[in-house]
Symmetry: C2
Subunit: 313 residues, 2 copies
Amino acid sequence: MTQITISEVGPRDGLQSVDTILSTEGKLAWVDMEYRAGVREIEVGSFVSPKLLPQMADTADVVKGARRHPGLVVAVLVPNLRGCEAAIESGAHKISIPLSLSESHSIKNVRRDHPQMLEEIARCQALVDQVAESDRPCFEVGLSTAFGCTIEGVVEEAFVVDMAARVLDLGVAEVGLSDTTGMGNPAQLERLVTGIWQQCGESALTGVHLHNTRGQGLANALKAVELGITTLDSSLGGLGGCPFAPGASGNIVTEDLVFMLESMGYSTGIDLETLLSARAEIAKLLPGEEWFGFTSAAGLPKNFAAVSLKEAS
Amino acid sequence: MTQITISEVGPRDGLQSVDTILSTEGKLAWVDMEYRAGVREIEVGSFVSPKLLPQMADTADVVKGARRHPGLVVAVLVPNLRGCEAAIESGAHKISIPLSLSESHSIKNVRRDHPQMLEEIARCQALVDQVAESDRPCFEVGLSTAFGCTIEGVVEEAFVVDMAARVLDLGVAEVGLSDTTGMGNPAQLERLVTGIWQQCGESALTGVHLHNTRGQGLANALKAVELGITTLDSSLGGLGGCPFAPGASGNIVTEDLVFMLESMGYSTGIDLETLLSARAEIAKLLPGEEWFGFTSAAGLPKNFAAVSLKEAS
């Protein structure tokens, strides 16, 4: 059975997009419930200015709390070197920095053009390299707007591959592909993934961050796992998206993604029934927010566990 | 470019599931708007007892009106021989009869077990064969609950293939695979399609009817077209589903499906912008009904047409 890592981004990508400011205890309850369902990678917050995103002000405490779960990869997002310092200090296991391939989007989002961003990434990598090897976090660059941009429209595929190569040349171990604006399609995803693999090697790209903005999330996820991608970001109830790209909303829904993968015989390590219960409980922490997804409403098919086991055998 | 036929089922599958009884003029306006967007196969109604489904009482008139559009395949659903007679009489180009592979579902849905249904199908085929060749409609059996049943749970895959073969042995030219309950996954779809192809030949199965009950619709559709399936049923706004399978709802959304296929370089013949305008107009005919889909809310990506053309070249 192929193992797929579901990287839950709800506590970061979801919570930064909603109005409710969830307490540290609430965030840790969320992490705890997903951990009990079998989720083993969770992006718990981002180290951004609390003036910009007050929802994320307690990220260091959330990292500290989440690190108590054995075997859980505690991931965070950082926009810059200062965030990276705080992330290392917090003890996060995995640190991602987004690099928007649409330069207009990059300038709008983090006020840096491409040369400035590449310089910032190099500084972050140097900082990470200073950490003792036993404690060193994974450091990854998320290539956002890789499938298109609301401002620029088309983002050239050759440019995506070229920028991936430039990032890896800085000593970064891995890039991720992000469909920030939900414009991607499975054929495009295949061209981008194989393009980067051919140019930079398969270990340079193992994860994708897909959105469901135009309903294409699971179709793209299917193509990704069939190609050999092993980490998929998703958000419980599809909470969140990118607040900076107008019209863009909706991460892929963790529950529906797990349903697809487990039914197909992939192993996510996640118990779907426990995950659906977690969704119901976590939704209570965020009254008034819009939750997406279909499996939670329809419920699991009769004898679903038996089918999964059969597929697995 | 691979041509894919989108068979719009909203005027049948959608309207039979909602409370509003749309007038004949309203239905023909719906057909007309989708025709103008480039849709060339529409299931316009079903010949069922008007006591059971008063929404479908005017199907003969809708067929008559829809036949005015050159090149449009006017399709209908029939539950039995009597419906088949009426369908032939109306001049429908394509007639489908569902055969539920879950016998419990079949008995609950049409009060017939499998031997009775096979007998009814044979009678329908004989009736179709009596029509002069120039006017003879296509007659097709939709294998419903082929991916699982809310009552019986698992439907054995070998049984699906076996029943397909038994139907084809009656002289029926083609079967379709229906995920009535939205339990299907892409791996299962691949096994079922290739199983039927190996047993009965590829011309025996060219179309699938998928539901989005657990969010898997487009992932299954992607797998289907990659295998070589050339006709996909879908419903504008995802209207409808199966009213007889508790918990089952939600056809795949025509707009989101067309977005996927056209972005990937498949040719549907449909202009997505016109289709989105049609959705907005048709939704006005059905106030208070729930419409699904994401492309309509997000809008087309900037320079979408240019991208499609590029993919096509």
